[in-house]
């Protein structure tokens, strides 16, 4: 509480320095690669057409963690940006500090409640108030496959864990790398996320990763999930450790490897290599996790601004972010799908259309879950504690049973 007041007081104190930005918005983000930035430029152009200036504040690195560090410095200095690209629990944490603006009027006017899936609203709303505008939904439980290798080995898209393993065995026997993977904690966790969903289904996922129930965390299904990870470990090449995810994607695109388990941003790498979804490469859900979608969602969290013009600019920006035109323009480039479920899929490619259909389906059937690996299931402390265990197990430090037991301890320590 004290912090909240303090931040507020400082904000008032600093109001004079933020005057300069009154005519525009200052946006902190980490979308700096060519395609992402081009997509964001659509938003910038849109705002500038309405007479609102854009002060760009890009800070890349560490999947946004550097940007979050910078944000803390800015808020502590009493000078927060207007809008900040943010993921999952961070939004809730900042809202709890009282640092975020209230977008309820705009949300009501444009009926965001009806078009944004509830699982996303859980992050965009704090205490019933809209505090951020969701831009996209990345779903993380995809398998990316090389079509040529699948044809050569006469493989069908596997629909069960056993078929998946059989396909990888065939690839390995034929001299291919069965699973392209980069050994970085977040990538290990991304794979684990989908595997755990495949083993235990939505109920287990909810209990273990969201409710952090000790029985689920240390239970049989968790052990089974770790065992499957150990199986996967047998299908990666010797050289996986530390590899960037995009180099792993390149292995699939080059015909060196059969599969990669990665979120939908991987598609950009294939498209960039001149390939088309459904032709040179294909995508399907991680076997066992069909019907569910684990996601992460980039949002623009709106920070408290005191000046009225600044507030107006901020609302205009929020409204522009939620506009169908921007959602289409941005997501076709980014590989993700729009945060609104009421948008036509005409502009999207095969994998994009599949993703949109499955998102809508999962949202209505209760199969839409925030991804643990991407900070949408539990707070960062817990998430990273899980990373520690998953990556230690994948690197051979624990066996499956010890890993499940460690999971319980690590989560307890992190809370």
């Amino acid at each position: 509480m004290r912090i909240t007041k303090m931040t507020g007081a400082v904000a008032v104190l600093m109001a004079s320095t933020t005057m300069a930005q009154a005519q525009g918005v200052e946006v902190l983000h980490w979308w700096t690669s060519g395609g992402e930035a081009a997509a964001l430029n659509v938003l910038k152009g849109d705002l500038e057409a309405q007479g609102i200036g854009w002060t760009d504040m890009p800070v890349a690195g560490g999947g946004g963690s550097d940007a979050m560090t910078v944000l803390r410095a800015r808020v502590t200095a009493g000078d927060p940006p207007t809008a900040v690209q943010m993921l999952g629990f961070a939004i809730q944490d900042w809202a709890a500090e009282g640092a975020l603006a209230d977008l309820n009027d705009l949300a009501a006017e444009q009926s965001w409640d009806d078009v944004v899936p509830e699982a996303l609203q859980a992050f965009s709303k704090y205490d019933g108030s809209w505090v951020s505008a969701p831009v996209n939904v990345h779903s993380t439980n995809w398998v990316w496959a090389n079509s040529a290798i699948m044809a050569e080995l006469e493989l069908e898209q596997p629909s069960s864990w056993d078929e998946f393993v059989a396909a990888m065995e065939a690839a390995q026997a034929a001299g291919y790398v069965a699973l392209a993977h980069g050994g970085q904690a977040w990538q290990d966790a991304t794979v684990f996320d989908s595997i755990a969903m495949g083993v235990g289904g939505p109920e287990f996922y909810q209990a273990a990763f969201v409710e952090l129930d000790a029985d689920a965390l240390g239970g049989e299904q968790m052990v089974e999930a770790f065992e499957r990870m150990a199986t996967l470990r047998g299908f990666v090449d010797d050289n996986f450790s530390g590899r960037d995810w995009n180099l792993a994607s390149a292995m699939v695109a080059n015909g060196e490897a059969l599969f990669q388990i990665m979120g939908d941003w991987a598609k950009g790498e294939f498209v960039n290599a001149g390939q088309t979804a459904g032709e040179e490469f294909q995508c399907f859900r991680v076997p066992g996790s069909e019907g569910t979608v684990t996601f992460n969602s980039d949002q623009f969290a709106m920070f408290n601004v005191t000046d009225e013009t600044a507030m107006a600019s901020q609302l205009t920006m929020a409204s522009a972010v939620m506009s169908p035109e921007f959602q289409v323009a941005f997501n076709t480039v980014k590989g993700s799908v729009p945060a609104r479920t009421d948008i036509s899929d005409a502009e999207f490619d095969a994998c994009g259309q599949l993703g949109m259909a499955q998102l809508a389906e999962a949202a209505s059937s209760g199969g839409l879950f925030g991804s643990m690996a991407h900070g949408h299931a539990n707070p960062p402390a817990v998430q990273n504690a899980m990373y520690d265990v998953i990556t230690a197990h994948f690197n051979g430090e624990y066996d499956a049973e010890t890993a499940a037991a460690e999971m319980v301890t690590a989560v307890e320590l992190a809370q």
Binding site: V10, M14, T17, E26, L28, W30, W31, T32, S33, G34, G35, E36, A37, A38, L40, N41, K44, W54, T55, D56, M57, P58, V59, A60, G61, G62, G63, G64, D66, T69, V70, R72, A73, R74, T76, A77, G78, D79, H138, D244, N246, L247, A250, N254, E256, G263, W265, G268, E269, N272, A273, K334, G335
Partner: protein, 293 residues
């Protein structure tokens, strides 16, 4: 007899010399490898890099990555390349280095020629301050800059760099001036010269070498800093390293390694230049003082 023809008294025989050259060349190779990798890959089309062979020479030579990194690469929403950020860095580095060097020189002068009770403790405290991990100062520093009203400005960033450069600057000058004959200072004092006069007339003229060392050290450290630059001057005032990081570390986008390497070399050019041009004076400067602890 051999001694007479050698300036250096300690020398080795013919076989020894061959060995010496061999070792020196091997080390030169070791030092050059990463730079060579960067250079080779910066003139290669991206396809050849992701195609797998990262150490081989390019089949198609291209300078496109360099042009892209300098003027068209995506740093933020605008494809500006590194160009505008280059000047931001210069604007930040120059005042910070100048101020910090002046403070360091004065401190060194005082701590050696105007000694007082507890001066060693003062110096010890300044020296130990070199060891503070910068991560812990981030939040309180942001608060202080906010209170001073200079958060997010170049002035704020200059202040931060000056504060954390004082330790090393003082160390260099103190060690240098310690070797400077105190008698000259005393004599000038007796002649009625004041505190600043002695500094300007007697110490400063012979401070060239150590100033080179101090400037090189500060310049390199401040130019290469990322954490403070990102936290206290992002946006339009962002220094080169922040821009380079944006270029290199995009999380879920396509990675253009050739452009990254070209950008990295561009970002390092000023410091490389400083080392190559001033390198000769650097050793001379170190020689003249800082190693005489």
């Amino acid at each position: 007899m051999a001694i007479a023809t050698q300036d250096n008294a300690a020398s080795v025989g013919r076989i020894g010399r061959t060995f010496v050259y061999l070792v020196l060349l091997l080390f030169a190779l070791f030092y050059l490898i990463p730079f060579a990798i960067m250079l080779i890959n910066s003139v290669k089309p991206l396809g050849e890099i992701t195609g797998g062979n990262m150490i081989a020479l390019p089949q198609d030579w291209t300078i496109a990555p360099w042009l892209s990194a300098w003027s068209t690469a995506q740093i933020g929403v605008e494809p500006t390349g590194l160009k505008p950020y280059f000047w931001n860095s210069i604007r930040m580095v120059v005042p910070a280095v100048v101020i910090c060097t002046i403070i360091g020189a004065l401190n060194g002068y005082i701590l050696t020629k105007w000694r007082f009770r507890g001066d060693t403790i003062v110096f010890g405290l300044m020296l130990f301050s070199c060891f503070i991990p910068f991560q812990i100062v981030l939040i309180p520093m942001a608060r202080v800059l906010g209170i001073l009203g200079i958060s997010g400005t170049s002035a704020g960033l200059v202040l931060v760099h000056v504060v954390y450069g004082i330790g090393f600057a003082t160390l260099y000058y103190r060690n240098y001036y310690a070797a400077f004959p105190t008698e000259l200072v005393r004599a000038a004092q007796i002649d009625g010269a004041g505190f600043f006069q002695i500094f300007y007339r007697i110490l400063l003229p012979s401070s060239g070498p150590i100033t080179v060392v101090c400037v090189i050290w500060l310049f390199t450290n401040i130019w290469n800093d990322f954490l403070f630059g990102a936290s206290f001057a992002s946006g339009d005032a962002a220094p080169m390293t922040v821009a380079l990081n944006n270029l290199v570390n995009s999380s879920t986008g396509v990675r253009e390694y050739n452009v990254h390497f070209a950008g990295a070399i561009l970002a390092a050019l000023p410091t490389l230049l400083v080392y190559i041009v001033a390198g000769r004076f650097f050793v001379r400067g170190l020689m003249a003082g800082s190693v005489k602890g």
